[in-house]
């Protein structure tokens, strides 16, 4: 029935020829935009496999075989690449855990309990959601100096406990996925409130936690502004700071093969994770915005 109505409308509105033409235009534009997105990664991949000598001869589209020698060249440079990787993973992973666990807890508090000031707190968190951290960076640095936490990872990890965007996403998820009856049933069975949260609620919100964990991890992994202000010890720097250091070196003496390998090294972990989980990530974007 619906199929039949669709066909009549097709005849009434536009004939099938027009739709076919529009479809072809759409595919051409989409193919072009996809190429525009992927082209740079292709160049990066090709150039990361070429030696400095090959790169100076000009561009050719075929990959070469020097990926490993480029990596060895990069290791010879005064950049702490492997500690940088470890630092980035450490900071991003702990940030993701803190943000999801505690912001979900906050959303749960607002969702399940009815207490004075509940509305005010929820409204406040949402109102400040968009305000960027850069505008309080000055006071933040003063505070971190006073706490003697300069050049440590804590100022990059602890603040993620209060992540308004994660709170908002979790609140929406709880609205759609957690009937209060479940909490009441747990109470009748004698489960403490804390135990209910950890053993019953956490498994229910796991899909939302996963999406938000990825977003927080990536945001922390990519973050350059705050870590660059806090970390100064060479062994504690994260990958974005190393990228900035690489940019500040004397480029007339740089091994370009090593430069491309370094860029690829900072980018590809996220690309691989994204390609494995893209279904969930793309689905999570619209849901995390105010009007989904």
């Amino acid at each position: 029935m619906a199929q039949n109505m669709q066909i009549t409308y097709d005849i009434k509105g536009e004939n099938t020829g027009t739709i076919k033409r529009r479809r072809i235009v759409a595919y051409i534009v989409l193919a072009f935009l996809s190429l525009l997105c992927l082209f740079w990664f292709y160049l990066l991949f090709v150039n990361a496999t070429k030696s400095h000598a090959e790169l100076s001869l000009g561009f050719t589209a075929v990959p070469s075989t020097h990926l490993f020698t480029n990596w060895k060249q990069l290791m010879k440079m005064p950049l702490k690449v492997l500690p940088g990787l470890a630092n980035s993973i450490f900071v991003a992973a702990l940030s993701a855990i803190c943000a999801t666990y505690f912001s979900a807890m906050t959303a749960y508090a607002i969702h399940v309990y009815r207490f004075a000031g509940r509305k005010a707190i929820a409204t406040f968190i949402l109102a400040v959601m968009m305000i960027p951290t850069q505008v309080t960076a000055l006071g933040f640095l003063e505070l971190i100096r006073k706490f003697n936490m300069m050049d440590t990872f804590w100022p990059l990890i602890i603040p993620s406990v209060a992540a308004p965007a994660t709170f908002f996403y979790m609140k929406q998820y709880l609205d759609s996925a957690l009937p209060l009856e479940i909490v009441e049933a747990a109470r009748i069975d004698g489960s403490g409130e804390f135990r209910t949260y950890n053993t019953i609620i956490m498994p229910i919100v796991k899909p939302a936690i996963a999406v938000q964990a990825i977003f927080t991890f990536v945001a922390s992994w990519n973050n350059y502004f705050t870590p660059a202000l806090i970390l100064s010890n060479e062994n504690r720097k994260t990958l974005p700071i190393l990228i900035a250091q690489l940019r500040s070196m004397d480029w007339s003496h740089l091994d370009m093969g090593a430069v491309y390998v370094m860029i690829a090294f900072s980018i590809f972990p996220v690309v691989v994770v994204y390609l494995c989980l893209s279904k969930y990530i793309v689905g999570g974007i619209a849901a995390g915005s105010v009007k989904g």
Partner: protein, 304 residues
């Protein structure tokens, strides 16, 4: 009955307990820094060589100095210009793609694949992506090599010596990183539009262009405004891309220096007074924009 109610109230105190981590961390790491930032903006406090000048209370003099500084207006102009260079193509292409993806008569195949690809640049480390563009567009880089091979140029084009090219590159990287995200948001909005409206328009003989301009766009207005404002807030924060491309110099001739890059300079030189004033201005700007977004969101909490 009464005892049941008091039991529920007893449970409700757990709401406060569960809120403790968020509230404590937010207060210490966001609110206190906000207040000290505002506090600092009323003091003359900077480093001149090794000597510390101040802190001396000077009221709102820092703000007067900030607004009368010609450079700050140039940096504001740079920030807005590079945002617009990236945002205009972004919103136009996103509208087009969103309309195509949500058009049930077009029935595009592999739309999941396309969405995955166009969202990819959004997750890439902006600093690494910028360094990649710097390497690719350098004098001996592949782009110049391709231009010369195609006989479009006889010698390398110095992208980063040209004001226009540098700004366009920053805008282009921002466009590339954000159009996938915007497309997905707009598409979600378009899918939320009642299909019976389109059917009614079709019965009235509307073609796809008329449906887009007369049905889709007007109903999409709240989401469009949301996208514009959140992108503007993001634009005001523009930092990583021009910072890496120009080593923080905003070259050529300060034409890619943004407000946050300038703030960053104050933070490194410990120019706390002027840095504080600039932060407060940015806080007020983004705060106003945030409130507009929040009001539009129509956020409602189920009642107690």
């Amino acid at each position: 009955m009464k005892s049941k109610k008091s039991k529920v109230v007893a449970f409700n105190k757990w709401g406060y307990i569960f809120l403790i981590p968020f509230v404590v961390v937010y207060s210490i790491f966001q609110l206190i820094p906000l207040f000290t930032t505002i506090y600092n903006s009323f003091f003359e406090n900077y480093r001149s060589g090794l000597t510390v000048i101040g802190p001396t209370f000077i009221g709102i003099d820092n703000f007067g100095k900030l607004f009368s500084d010609k450079n700050i207006w140039i940096y504001f102009g740079n920030t807005m210009l590079m945002w617009i260079i990236g945002f205009l193509p972004q919103i136009l292409i996103s509208l087009l793609l969103g309309a195509w993806f949500s058009d049930n008569r077009l029935r595009l195949k592999a739309s999941g694949f396309f969405k995955t690809v166009i969202y990819l640049p959004n997750l890439i480390m902006a600093s690494a992506f910028s360094l990649l563009f710097f390497a690719l567009l350098s004098d001996g880089g592949p782009i110049n090599s391709i231009l010369i091979a195609l006989h479009l140029r006889t010698e390398p084009f110095h992208f980063f010596s040209s004001i226009t090219a540098s700004r366009v590159i920053v805008g282009f990287i921002n466009f590339l990183m954000w159009f996938g995200n915007t497309t997905i948001l707009l598409m979600a909005g378009m899918l939320g539009i009642d299909t019976s409206l389109y059917e009614a328009a079709e019965v009235d003989g509307a073609n796809s262009r008329q449906k887009f301009f007369r049905v889709t766009l007007p109903l999409l207005r709240p989401i469009l405004i949301y996208v514009v404002i959140t992108s503007l807030i993001g634009g005001l924060q523009m930092f990583d891309v021009p910072q890496i491309l120009t080593k923080g110099a905003g070259s050529p001739a300060g034409s890619t220096m943004t407000l946050i890059m300038h703030l960053n300079q104050h933070l490194y030189s410990k120019n706390l007074g002027m840095g504080g004033a600039l932060s407060v201005v940015l806080f007020v700007l983004t705060g106003i924009l945030s409130i507009i977004v929040f009001k539009m969101s129509g956020f409602k909490l189920e009642d107690d």
